[in-house]
Symmetry: C2
Subunit: 227 residues, 2 copies
C-alpha cells in the first residue's frame, strides 16, 4: 500500500523521429536521437514503448495540481525508463542532454515472444527499478540535506565520473532546481550544501555544472552521517 495521488491526463504523443530502425535478431527496436529540451513522452501518453538511454541524460517528472514538482529519476546511459502503468506513461520525460535512445515495443517487456533475452533484460530492469526506488525512499524520508546531496554526487561520480589528476570529475547535466526536486529540497538548500562541501574541501566546482571530488572518503562520510 502506498499513498497514491492518481492524476490521469489524456494527451497522446508519439516517440520522436527515428534515425535508424535496425532489426534485432528477432524483433524490431528503434534508435532515435533527441536534443536537449525536447520531450520523449508526457504523462498520460499511450505507452507503446519502453526506452533505453544509450547516451545523454533524461529527466522523469511528476507534477502535483498545485504545481509542486517531483523529479522521479534521472535516466543515464544504461538506464531503462518509461515502464507503463496500464497502457499509459505516468511521468513526463524530458531530454536534458542530447541523447541516443533505443525504443523497445512494450510487448517485448510483457512476453518472451521471439526474443527471450531482451524480454528478460527488460523485466529485470523493471524489478531493479523497484529496488532502486525503495532505496530512494530511504533518502527522501530519512536523510538530511547534506546526506542527500552527498549521496547524489556519489552516484553521479560512480556512474558518469572520470578520473583526473587524483580526483573524480563529472558534469551535472541537470539544473539546481532539478536536483532540488529530486532530493526533496529547495534550490537554495542545494546550493548552500554544495558550498558547504566546497568549504570542507570535499569537492570543487569548475563551473556550476562541473564537479571534482577531492575527498571521496569525506563525501562517503557526509552521505552517511550528518556529523
Amino acid at each position: 500500500m502506498y499513498v497514491t495521488h492518481s492524476t490521469q491526463t489524456d494527451g497522446t504523443h508519439g516517440p520522436c523521429h527515428a534515425i535508424a530502425a535496425p532489426q534485432s535478431r528477432k524483433q524490431a527496436h528503434v534508435w532515435t536521437r533527441h536534443t536537449t529540451g525536447s520531450h520523449l513522452f508526457h504523462e498520460g501518453d499511450a505507452a507503446a514503448f519502453v526506452y533505453e538511454v544509450r547516451s545523454g541524460s533524461v529527466r522523469l517528472t511528476r507534477v502535483l495540481e498545485n504545481g509542486r514538482r517531483q523529479v522521479i529519476a534521472f535516466g543515464l546511459p544504461g538506464d531503462i525508463i518509461g515502464f507503463p502503468n496500464g497502457d499509459r506513461h505516468h511521468t513526463d520525460c524530458d531530454i536534458i542532454a542530447n541523447a541516443d535512445i533505443v525504443a523497445y515495443p512494450r510487448r517485448m517487456l510483457e512476453t518472451e515472444g521471439a526474443d527471450p533475452q531482451t524480454h528478460q533484460r527488460l523485466l529485470d530492469a523493471a524489478l531493479n527499478e523497484i529496488t532502486a526506488m525503495q532505496d530512494h525512499f530511504m533518502m527522501l524520508g530519512r536523510k538530511s540535506a547534506v546526506e542527500k546531496v552527498a549521496s547524489f554526487l556519489l552516484v553521479l561520480a560512480q556512474r558518469t565520473g572520470t578520473l583526473s589528476d587524483g580526483g573524480m570529475m563529472f558534469s551535472l547535466p541537470m539544473s539546481r532546481a532539478d536536483i532540488a526536486d529530486f532530493l526533496g529540497l529547495t534550490v537554495e538548500t542545494v546550493s548552500r550544501t554544495f558550498s558547504l562541501l566546497r568549504k570542507r574541501g570535499i569537492i570543487s566546482l569548475e563551473t556550476p555544472q562541473t564537479v571534482s571530488v577531492h575527498d571521496h572518503g569525506g563525501l562517503v562520510a557526509a552521505s552517511q552521517d550528518p556529523e
Copy 2:
C-alpha cells in the same frame, strides 16, 4: 538513476508452513496463514515466490546501517508483494495482522508458462508498484506532516474502511512508529498530527488504532493543502 544504498545480507528463509496447496488450473500456488509478529521473508533471502495478501496486513521495511528504518509499504488485502531483485528479496516482510497469503512461484512472474493470465496479473502488479512508488515520492519529498498523515488516512479509509453512522471507520493495524517510518516523520509528529485532525473535528479515535472519519472533505483538503 536513483541514489542507491546497496546493502546485501545473505540469510535464507523459506516461506512459512503451508496449510493447503491447491492446484491452479495450470501451475501450483500455495496458501499459507501467518500470525501477527511472524516474518514472511527477510532482506537477502532467496526469492522463490512473490506473494499476494488475501487478508490481514504486512509491513515491508528496509534498514540503514545506522539503524534508521524506512517502512517501504504496507501490504493490504489485494496487494502483491515481494518482487525480487535478482534472485533475492530486498526488504524485510513482517506480518502485522494475522494474514492469509498466497505464494506464487517466481517463474509465474517471469514467463507466461502454462498460466498466462496469472503471469499478466503479476507483471501488471509489478508495473503498478512502480507507479505507486513514484506517487509516494511526491509524498515523501514534497508534502507537509498534515498532508502526509491525511493522505495516509484517506488511502486506508478507501481501502479498508466501512461505513458506520455517517462516517467512514477503519482500524490501523500498524503502530505510530510504523506510520512515522512510512511517512518520513517522527512518532511525536504523527501523534500531534492525529490530535490536530481530531481538534479540527475531521477524525476521532475510539482507540489509538480505530479511526472514524467525520469530515471526508476536510480530510481531502488537509491532504492537499497545508492551509
